[in-house]
Amino acid sequence: MADAIYSICTNDSLYQYLSEEGLKEVDQITWEKVGLRIRECYNQLTGRGWFDNWEYLQAVKNIK
């Protein structure tokens, strides 16, 4: 971790890259998408009364 902190403090291009790409990535993580994923779990539970993680992962793979 010390090496990583040192690198980002001294390497301007790394600093810039993390700033831009990190922001882009985190901007994709929204509560609306979390709501959609939870809804898929709810649908499984109310539809048949049990949950299967593998089927869930297949169902939500398009929610990026």
Binding site: A2, A4, L18, S19, V26, G35, Y42, T46
Partner: protein, 370 residues
């Protein structure tokens, strides 16, 4: 779809990350249009947002009291006097022996995390029995171990599926040295749950391996973030070209591993001197960290401004943020992380099995071994 949700915190009253996560999850569900959430809180303030129904557990009767509508109609926060009568029609046992019953026949909650927390958790589950009988719902969702007994009770009464949300486990909080009572409550909730939502894949593995749950019913459900408020966006970073600021954002508690940050700071300062370190948080390890910084001889480059002031100063400084968690990292989940979201130089680390740290963003992977 109607969801009966049990939670311990909800904004605007925030004790920790649970309130913000509960808000985000309910908000995300409300955006779908056809999900009605009834959120049961021990002691709401009445200032909660109105996109969901709030039930004030401190005003749900567990004992019958003869009350005139005109005398009580203005006394309710969250639900209404009409709801009170509906709840009163679904009492299921004699709880007159309970301490602290008020004139409405309700059990009072202190709110937050008082000394008699286990008693409050039990009382919460007693009230859940009334709600499970009186409310119309399709599914139960319980947030964190505090509300698992309520969720289990509601499931036993109604037969509806139970989904529990694992925001943290006692294994995370105690680094493996669990409180057996808390562990027992967590395990019982998981055993009865039909679906276990974990805030990260690492927490999911903890649930599977340490709580012996079926992997099929465990799902990683990462939290999200909120955009930074205008108040914070308006701050123009006051950068000093010759000096960098690296900030630790989070509680200064064992779970977050603040000592690793101090150790790393000491190593960095062996190589360069134009970096300042800031621990923008508070917690029971704060004094120990102040002493540790002094022992390493870096106290002149280390600052402890407290949480809110610290977060503000971090934003102002335009520095780098480090978010540490020893046993799991919630995927950039909570409001304080929205700080990091708009910061330059986001760094997030987690430790896998005590062996190595890995950068939060796989594409920018910077792995460091201990």
């Amino acid at each position: 779809m109607k969801v009966l949700m049990f939670g311990w915190e909800f904004p605007p009253k925030i004790y920790g990350g649970l309130a913000v996560a509960s808000y985000g999850i309910t908000k995300g569900l409300s955006l779908q249009g056809d999900v009605q959430t009834t959120f049961c809180l021990p002691k709401p303030t009445g200032e909660e947002e109105k996109f969901l129904n709030i039930i004030n557990m401190s005003q749900v009767p567990v004992v019958w009291r003869d009350k005139n509508y005109d005398d009580i109609r203005d006394r309710f926060v969250g639900h209404t006097a009409v709801d009170y009568y509906r709840f009163r029609d679904h009492l299921y046992a004699d709880f007159n022996y309970l301490q602290g019953l008020d004139d409405l026949g309700c059990i009072q909650f202190a709110g937050g995390y008082p000394g008699n927390l286990h008693e409050e958790i039990n009382n919460f589950s007693i009230i859940a029995g009334v709600l499970a009988r009186s409310e119309d719902f399709d599914l139960i969702h319980a947030h964190d171990w505090l509300t698992y007994p309520a969720g289990v009770h509601a499931k036993m009464v109604s037969g509806k599926p139970l989904c529990i949300h694992v925001h943290a486990t006692d294994f995370d909080r105690s680094r493996g040295k669990v409180n057996p009572t808390v562990y027992g409550i967590e395990k019982n909730g998981m055993d009865h749950a039909d679906c276990i939502m974990c805030v990260s894949e690492l927490t999911r593995q903890t649930v599977i391996n340490q709580y012996h749950q079926d992997p099929k019913k465990c799902v990683a459900m990462h939290n999200a973030v909120y955009p930074l408020s205008e108040e914070y966006q308006a701050i123009v970073p006051n950068k000093t070209p010759d000096e960098k600021v690296v900030t630790f954002l989070g509680r200064i508690t064992m779970q977050k591993g603040p000592e690793y940050f101090v150790e790393a700071a000491a190593k960095v300062l062996q190589r360069t001197h134009n970096i300042r370190f800031c621990m923008a948080g508070s917690g029971d390890m704060m004094n120990a960290m102040i002493r540790m910084a002094a022992e390493r001889g870096i106290a002149d480059r280390f600052h402890f401004p407290g949480f809110r002031l610290g977060a503000f100063r971090h934003r102002s400084s335009g520095g780098h943020a480090v978010r540490l968690s020893v046993y799991h990292l919630q995927a950039v989940g909570l409001r304080r992380d929205s700080e990091q979201r708009h910061q330059s130089g986001l760094l997030g680390y987690r430790r896998y099995g005590g062996r190595h740290l890995q950068h939060l963003h796989q594409r920018q992977s910077l792995s460091v071994s201990f």
